[in-house]
Every structure is written in C-alpha cells, then in structure tokens.
C-alpha cells in the first residue's frame, strides 16, 4: 500500500472524527453565541443521548425482532433526540435561566455542576461498566479506491453533512433563524422588536441537544462502546474545535471540528516523520493543541470568529 493511499485513509479517518466533533461543537457555539455561556454539560447530553438510544434499541429489538439494523438506528436516534431535547430544556430552565443576568462565572460553574450531576445519574441508571453498542450497520470493511471504510463511518459523514447544511439554512433563511441571530446580537433590542428571547434561547438549546443526541448515537455506533463518562473527551475536543473555529460562529464550529479531526489523524500519522522521529504518536494531542495555540495567538477570535470586543 503506497504512502499516498495511507494519506487518503488518514484524511478519511480525520473526516469521520471531524464530522462528529463539528456536530458537537455546533451545540457549544450556538449556545455561546446567544447567551454567552460555555455549556460544559453539553458533552454529557451527548452521553445521555447515546445511552438512551442504546436502551431504546434494546427494547425495540426485543419487541420487534425483525426490524433491520438501520431501522433500529433510526428508532434509537429519535428516542435520543426526544430525551435530549427535554433534558436540555429542563437544564436551561432550572440551571441557567435563573442565572442569566448573574456574573458570567456563576452559570459556568452551574454548567460544570450539571455535568457532574448528569454523569452520576447516568451511572445510577446505566451502571458503571462499558456497554457494548450493537452493530446496527454492517461493520465489514469496504474498499473504496485506496481507502477502507465501513457503512457506519460513511453514514456519519453523510448525516453530519446533511445536518450542517440544514442548520445553515435554518439560521440564515427562516424566521426562527433570524430571531436567533437578532437575540445573539442584542437580546433586549430583539425583545423590543417582538422576539421572545426565552423562546429563542430554549429553541437554541433544543437544537444543540438534538445535534448532541445524533452525535452521541453516531459516536457510540462508530466506536461500539457507551458508558457514563463517554461525553467528557468528545465534549472537551468539541469545545476546542469551537474555539478554534471562533466560538459563537456556526460555520466556524463546523470548520473547527473538521480541522481538529484532520489535525488529530494527520498528527498521529505523520508527526514522527515531520519531526524526524523526535516526537511519536504520543504527542498527537499536544500537536492539536499547538495548532490551537498558534491560531489563537495569530487570530485571538478563532479562525472565523468575530465581535470579540463586546463578547470578552
């Protein structure tokens, strides 16, 4: 296998990882754009989504044994989306709305508290063990040109592309999207113009939660494990991606996610060749964060970021 084939395979690996990061990063960035809150519980919403889907899939499989894998996947995903939206609205109403005008540190700390709470509750419900995710789509390797892929990974890329396009249309072309942009600009003025900020903020949380649910199900399906703290690492990485792209900026989160995925894959694959063997794949995360630091030094607001002055 030639080195170019390996390169293409790494690009594909990076795209799969990056699409997942992008979907999660969108949730961070949309919420930040509107209420200036870094919702650290977002990764755990993803975890709840993945575990809910697992339960739904298990129950449905027992009730309707004949249902094909993709059907179960859709059932699981719908259940996850529903539960995550309700959960996220609840979190927003109980934990964030009362603190909306508080100093910015207060909701941040609340968010961390919610994150710990969700993990603990999930541990009580689903247990501490790693749970095996059922193989819903065929896992056998498919050779497409030089790259080896699986149906699940292709589904990840396809689904996230569709979702991201849909989201851009929603934000740029619909009434709700205009209300969201107006609230992000200035909640008070938007209120004077007849926008209900609470409804818009709730809608933003709901959309972010739905994206996290989809990402959670796909994340668990690709890596075939789910557990109560599975949201932590992807949440952290996606937050990094959102900052990389410019937090608050929707295309920025998509770009940041894809970039971070590619950087991680290529970093792990090529860092030792680039450094003449001084650094190995143990430095792959370091590599990703060096890129992040460099971007933030050169462009403090992220790649596509804007309006830092009134945000900071």
């Amino acid at each position: 296998m030639g080195s170019f084939d390996t390169f293409l395979q790494q690009i594909f690996n990076g795209l799969v990882l990056g699409s997942l990061y992008a979907l999660i990063a969108l949730g961070y960035t949309m919420v930040y754009g509107i209420v200036n809150l870094i919702n650290f519980a977002h990764g755990d919403v993803l975890m709840v989504g993945a575990l809910t889907a697992l339960s739904a899939i298990t129950l449905t499989h027992a009730a309707v044994p004949g249902l094909p894998g993709w059907g179960l996947m859709i059932v699981g995903m719908l259940a996850a989306i529903a539960v995550c939206i309700v959960l996220s609205l609840l979190i927003e109403r109980v934990a964030y709305r009362p603190l909306r005008n508080a100093p910015r540190l207060a909701p941040l700390i609340t968010a961390i508290g919610v994150s710990i709470l969700l993990q603990t509750v999930a541990m009580i419900i689903w247990g501490r063990n790693h749970l095996t995710y059922p193989q819903l789509l065929p896992a056998d390797p498919i050779a497409i040109g030089p790259a080896t892929v699986t149906a699940t990974k292709l589904a990840v890329i396809a689904l996230s592309t569709v979702i991201m396009i849909g989201l851009l249309v929603l934000v740029q072309r619909t009434r709700l999207g205009r209300a969201m942009r107006a609230t992000a600009e200035n909640p008070r003025v938007a209120g004077l113009m007849g926008v209900n900020p609470n409804a818009v903020i709730a809608a933003t949380f709901a959309i972010g939660a739905a994206l996290a649910a989809v990402a959670g199900v796909m994340y668990a399906a690709v890596y075939s494990v789910a557990h109560f703290y599975m949201g932590f690492i992807p949440g952290l990485k996606a937050f990094t991606a959102a900052v990389l792209g410019g937090i608050g900026n929707i295309p920025g989160a998509m770009l940041g996610g894809i970039l971070l995925g590619l950087i991680e894959a290529l970093g792990a694959g090529y860092i030792d060749q680039l450094t003449g063997g001084v650094f190995g794949s143990n430095y792959q995360d370091v590599f990703a964060f060096i890129v992040l630091c460099a971007v933030l030094i050169l462009r403090p607001s992220g790649l596509l970021g804007e309006r830092v002055a009134d945000r900071a």
Binding site: D5, T132, A139, I233, S281
Partner: protein
C-alpha cells in the same frame, strides 16, 4: 442590583451548605475510621481491597473484589480465624481507586488509617506502585492479585507482594509467541502509556529484538482513548507480521474492532489486561485475531478451578473475568500469615507473608526475596468463536 444581591445571598448560602456538608462528611468519615480501628481490636480482622470500581476497568475491579469477598465468606463460614482464645471474623473493606495513580494513594492512606491488617490490591500496576510506598511506611503487607509491572516489586519494599507472574515473564511469553509460533520477522507495538502497558511492551520489544525480529513501528495511545484509526492506518502502511498491544480490555477491544474495520488481517497479541471476556464483547468481529497471555495457570484446568468457577458464578451471577482466583488466594495467604504469626500486628503479619508456603487455588504460592511469586506461570490463550481457548502454559 436586586438580582445580583439575591445571587450573592444564594452563593453564600450554598457555600455555607457545602461547608456544613463537608464538615458532617468529615465527621462521618472519622467515625468510620474509628470503628474500623476498634473493629480490628475487637473481633474483626479488617483486610483492605483496592481496585477500580468505576470507569473502564470497573468490571475487572469488581471481579477482583468478588474473589476476595468469596474467600472471606468461606473463611467466616468455616468458623473464622482463631488466635489464642479469641475468634475473629474476616471483613473486606473494598475501596475504589478509579485505576488512577493519585486516587490509589488516597485510598491506600484511607485503608491504613482505617486499621487494616493487610491489603489485597491494587488491580492496576500504575496505582499499585505509588500506593506501595504508603503501605511500606505503615508496615502493611500489600498483595496484588493482578499488578504485573516489573517495577512494582523492584522498589526494595519488604511489604510488597504479588501472586501472579510479572511482566518480565509475561513479556517474554508474548515475544516468544510472536517470533517462535507466528514466525514474525517484523512487529508493530502499541501501548497505552500506563505503567502496566508501557512496562509490558518494553519487555516485549527487548525480547523480540533479541530473537532477531525488527520493531518497525512503536505507537502510543492512552488508556481513555476510543479512536485508534490514525495509528492503525499508519501501522497498516508498514505491513507488520504481528501487532502487539499493551493495555487493558476497554481500549484493546475497540482497537481490535478498528483493526478489523480497516481491513488489517495481521494477528494481534495482547497481555493479561486484554485477555478477558469483556475484550471479546467489545472487539466484535475483530476478536478472533487476538492471542493473549495471562499471568498464572489456566485456572479452569486446575484441580480446584472448575469448582471455584461454579461457586463464583452461583454467588455473583456472572462468570470470572480474569483475576478473581488470585484475589481469592491473596486473602487466604493473608489469613494463613495471620495464623502463623499468631497476632494481628502488621509487621508480624508482613514477615509471615514473606515466608508463605501455601497450596492455593491458583497453584503453589511462595515469594522470592523481592515479593514476586516463585515459579510463576504464564498461560497463552487464543480467541476463537467468542471464547478464550487455552493454548499452552510456560514457566
């Protein structure tokens, strides 16, 4: 203004509540410790057990703890331990170290303060090694049923023991399998950057080179990772004859699955941490590529092994993952030492453990000067059709 004042009040109130809870919790803990001490002085022998009960290794931690509890229950059912004219019950105080080195030292101190006579654990070498210093300072014998890293007993502590073979033996067995049985000329090595994973494959690397094979790539991940596609793609390009992984089953499983999904047909070799039923579950279609080793005899083939497996299954409703027989034996070794020492004095018990000569479930147990198991065995298993099939045992 009004709202910020309200928030200030709320903050103060919640801080006060947190403080109150901390104080109450602290008191509660102190009381626990007190009762633990008085328990040891009364008619209870307190033995500590440490393993991860949450996180990716929780199933293995629970397995170890179950083994220890089974032994304690049997000893108590058989009349407990008689010292002089008093009869003692054996009690296991199980602690969770989350497979984390820092957490390991915290619970070690907690057990020492609670008045344990000796400790069974920890599960992971990465946690056992830093904790061993605390046990040494308190003269508490520490018998690990599963920490295989060479460094664990290499520190010159008189209190440090293990009832499994170490990674020098295990790494050699893995390397032998790669070069002698699979006839590998080129080897790719991956580890999870823990004391266990890295220590194990360092030895494999050394022995493989002595046998004339080349290590064409050495890759790294960490023990919380879930995506290995990047390093596996890199390994695929170097076309090794075999891939060797040092790490636990919660990473080895997904890794084997991704090996399969990337169309890599190369055989895998893993150590004891990935030689479990959980690995097979997580690895899915990739499981059959794995050959793995365990420190110790193949317990199910030992005279008392089958019976133990049945008793364990009946009591806990799940099969033995891997090292429960060893934590079971470790409890018996401690109780045997207490009987021979004739006291619950920690130093006396530690000295008695060092001269152990005990016929256990897992074979004959005696320790060398370092605290390593004398004549430890390594068993090789091959995964086939969702089962671990015994291949051979070496010493």
């Amino acid at each position: 203004m009004n709202s910020s004042k309200r928030i200030a009040v709320a903050t103060v109130a919640s801080l006060a509540a947190a403080l109150l809870l901390a104080v109450l919790g602290g008191c509660g803990r102190k009381e626990d410790a007190g009762s633990g001490k008085s328990g040891a002085a009364g008619n209870v022998i307190l033995i500590g057990h440490v393993a991860p009960l949450s996180g990716g290794d929780a199933h293995l931690g629970k397995d170890n703890e179950n083994g220890a509890r089974l032994a304690a229950d049997e000893i108590n059912a058989a009349g407990g331990v008689k010292l002089g004219d008093k009869t003692y019950r054996v009690e296991i105080q199980g602690e969770d170290d989350k497979a984390d080195p820092r957490e390991g030292t915290l619970v070690a101190q907690k057990l020492v303060d609670a008045g344990v006579v000796a400790v069974v654990g920890h599960l992971n070498s990465g946690s056992s090694i830093p904790a061993s210093k605390i046990y040494k300072d308190a003269d508490v014998a520490q018998i690990s049923p599963s920490s295989t890293a060479v460094k664990y007993t290499d520190q010159g502590f008189k209190t440090t023991f293990r009832v499994v073979a170490n990674d020098r033996q295990q790494g050699t067995a893995m390397a032998n399998y790669a070069t002698d049985v699979l006839k590998a000329k080129t080897v790719a090595i991956v580890d999870d950057r823990t004391a266990y994973g890295q220590g194990l494959v360092d030895i494999v690397e050394q022995v493989v080179k002595e046998h004339g094979a080349t290590v064409i790539t050495r890759e790294y991940t960490d023990n919380k990772a879930s995506d290995f596609n990047a390093i596996l793609t890199k390994i695929r390009a170097t076309k090794p004859d075999v891939i060797i992984y040092g790490g636990m089953d919660d990473t080895a499983g997904p890794m084997a699955k991704q090996v399969h999904q990337l169309g890599i047909k190369t055989p895998l070799i893993g150590g004891d941490g990935s030689c479990t039923l959980e690995f097979i579950k997580l690895a899915g279609d990739g499981a059959d590529q794995m050959t793995c080793t365990r420190g110790g005899e193949a317990v199910e083939r030992l005279p008392k092994g089958d019976q133990f497996m049945t008793r364990y299954q009946a009591k806990f409703g799940s099969p033995v993952q891997i090292y429960a027989p060893y934590s079971y034996d470790a409890v018996y070794v401690i109780v045997d030492a207490i009987r021979r020492a004739g006291s619950l004095d920690r130093a006396a018990v530690t000295a008695a453990v060092a001269t152990t000569d005990y016929a256990g479930l897992t074979g004959h147990i005696a320790f060398d000067a370092k605290g390593d198991l004398k004549n430890g065995a390594i068993s090789v298993y091959k995964v086939q059709d969702g089962k671990l099939n015994f291949v051979s045992t070496t010493r």
